[in-house]
């Protein structure tokens, strides 16, 4: 249950479960925090019960949820508005752009159940386009935590992070913990492993696959640098350029369409800097999702450490 007082952040705890705990802990300390739900109050854990005056639920009406969030933020509130990533990023896209982002209001749009985490719910609920959509909107900061621990830390940082944010979290399961992580700083890629042969830049759930791939490659005497690119926008250009200088190829991994997301963002930097380097994007190659167990869907689309290993070996010949 997400309402338990203590969560073990060092365990394989789901990002959406941590989200509720983090918002509750933060919101009870900070009077400015408000939440807006579109029949999605479970995202906010106990906060809704403990601070009902600062929790709004508009029912199944995402556009209204985001506009009301903007109104609250205009009056000095720090607003977390959250529901399924598909619905909030697309049904309420114009509200995010026009009502929130233009004024760079303190609204933290949290898209949950992103990527393939909805599993059997199928393509209607699987968000594979949200990062691309949000990237095209000026002022939006886009953050994709790798695991529960990082989600908890990032939510707390967002209270002091001025402006419009899109935070992408997953569902209530399937989020393995990343071991030996350091402190997450918004806008700064985290180097999880240093390496000289190849770089894997990943975000969200794919960070775990990247680390696993690096371990497998290491047994084959291939040294892999792994970057956790939790902030997709503004992206850490320096980290990308350094990776291109230090290794012989770059692979990106994301639970998202290969158009518009992390891979595209990295490619833009490489191209604009005139860096010619072998480069491969692992993600969903311009397809809609399919119903299934998340694990099986990952295998179907090649969102696995095995595919990353194979891709690295192909690049390195």
């Amino acid at each position: 249950m997400m309402t338990k007082e203590k969560l073990d952040l060092k365990s394989d705890i789901a990002t959406r479960v941590v989200l509720g705990k983090a918002i509750t802990d933060l919101g009870l300390k900070n009077e400015k925090i408000c939440t807006v739900a579109a029949d999605s109050e479970s995202r906010f854990g106990d906060f809704v019960k403990k601070a009902p005056n600062r929790a709004v639920n508009v029912g199944i009406a995402e556009q209204n949820a985001v506009s009301i969030s903007a109104g609250l933020a205009f009056c000095g509130k720090i607003v977390f508005v959250s529901t399924y990533a598909t619905f909030i990023s697309m049904r309420a896209c114009e509200q995010i752009r026009t009502d929130v982002a233009f004024q760079n209001l303190n609204v933290k749009v949290v898209g949950t159940n992103s990527g393939f985490s909805p599993g059997w719910e199928g393509f209607t609920h699987q968000a594979l386009e949200d990062i691309g959509i949000m990237r095209a909107i000026p002022n939006m900061t886009i953050i994709v935590p790798a695991d529960g621990e990082e989600t908890y830390n990032l939510v707390h940082q967002l209270a002091d992070y001025e402006g419009a944010v899109y935070l992408r979290v997953r569902g209530k399961k399937d989020d393995p913990h990343i071991k030996n992580k350091g402190k997450t700083i918004i806008g700064k890629a985290e180097e999880l492993k240093s390496g000289e042969d190849i770089t894997i830049i990943a975000c969200g759930r794919m960070v775990y696959e990247a680390v696993k791939a690096a371990d497998i490659l290491s047994e084959k005497n291939i040294s892999t640098k792994v970057l956790n690119m939790h902030t997709i926008k503004p992206i850490d250009k320096e980290a990308i350029v350094t990776a291109a200088e230090e290794t012989m190829g770059i692979i990106t991994m994301e639970e998202h369409n290969t158009i518009g997301g992390l891979g595209t963002a990295v490619a833009e930097i490489l191209c604009e800097k005139g860096i010619g380097i072998p480069f491969k994007k692992i993600g969903v190659n311009d397809r809609f999702g399919i119903p299934g167990k998340t694990h099986d869907i990952f295998r179907h689309f090649g969102l696995t450490s095995e595919n990353a290993v194979k891709t690295a070996e192909e690049i390195l010949g």
């Binding site: 556009q63 109104g71 609250l72 205009f74 009502d99």
Partner: protein, 284 residues
Amino acid sequence: MTNTSLTLNEINELKETALKMRKTAIKMATKAGEAHLGPALDLTEIIVTLYSKIMNYRASDPKWPKRDRLILSKGHGCLALYTILAEKGFYEKELLDTFCTQLDTLFGGHPEVKVPGIEANTGSLGHGFNIGIGMAKAAQIDNFDYKVYTILGDGENQEGSIWEGAMAAPNLNIDNLIAIVDRNHLQVSGRTEKIMNIDPLKNKWESFGWAVQEIDGHDFSQIYNALNSAPFKPGKPSLIIANTIKAKGLSFAENKVEWHHKVPNEEEYRIADKELGLGGLNDD
């Protein structure tokens, strides 16, 4: 607020302000060569009453947290707002000369918060009203007693998001929100009845949980009495259906669909000058 009505003197003063605003708006539109003039002229009496008799605000401190707020959800009527805010001292009147004539002007074709006194960036219909609900909710959270006024176009009632908000506000027990529908029966390509009928409007809003009054949107006494008595029912948001005439005050343009975004040509300006005493385009 007390329940007294406006005196004759007060009404005459309001009429004077309204005429001044109409003249300024017509000149601005003519100079710029493009504007939504008709949708602004029909708001004049409502906006003059709000800023002269109803709303609490500080022109020298536009962000005063306890101020009443007006959101023009039908943002294209912004000429009415630009002119009254100048009139009430939010900024120098001379600045209005930049309306749609200077790159990155404060005063574009739709209102932006960078203009002192403008509360939301509106223009895309079905947004401002809902932002207003958020602001009204914030007053509840902060225990402030300010009110939020929001003006909707009648065509704007065709947007789905309006009804999301219409459903939410009563459920959130918001009674410091007063929405005004500018019921001029015209939208960009024809009469609302023909494009997508929104009637019965009063019944619709009442059935969503609003307390509704219908008034003549050009009659200062009716406007004042309605606004002054809001909330009409404790615990409920209030809706005023203000029956108006599009492009009111510009005789040849009144109630004509093309004046949604038409501006006077030379001949029309001469007629308007004769009727309203505009003077030269650049006269004060």
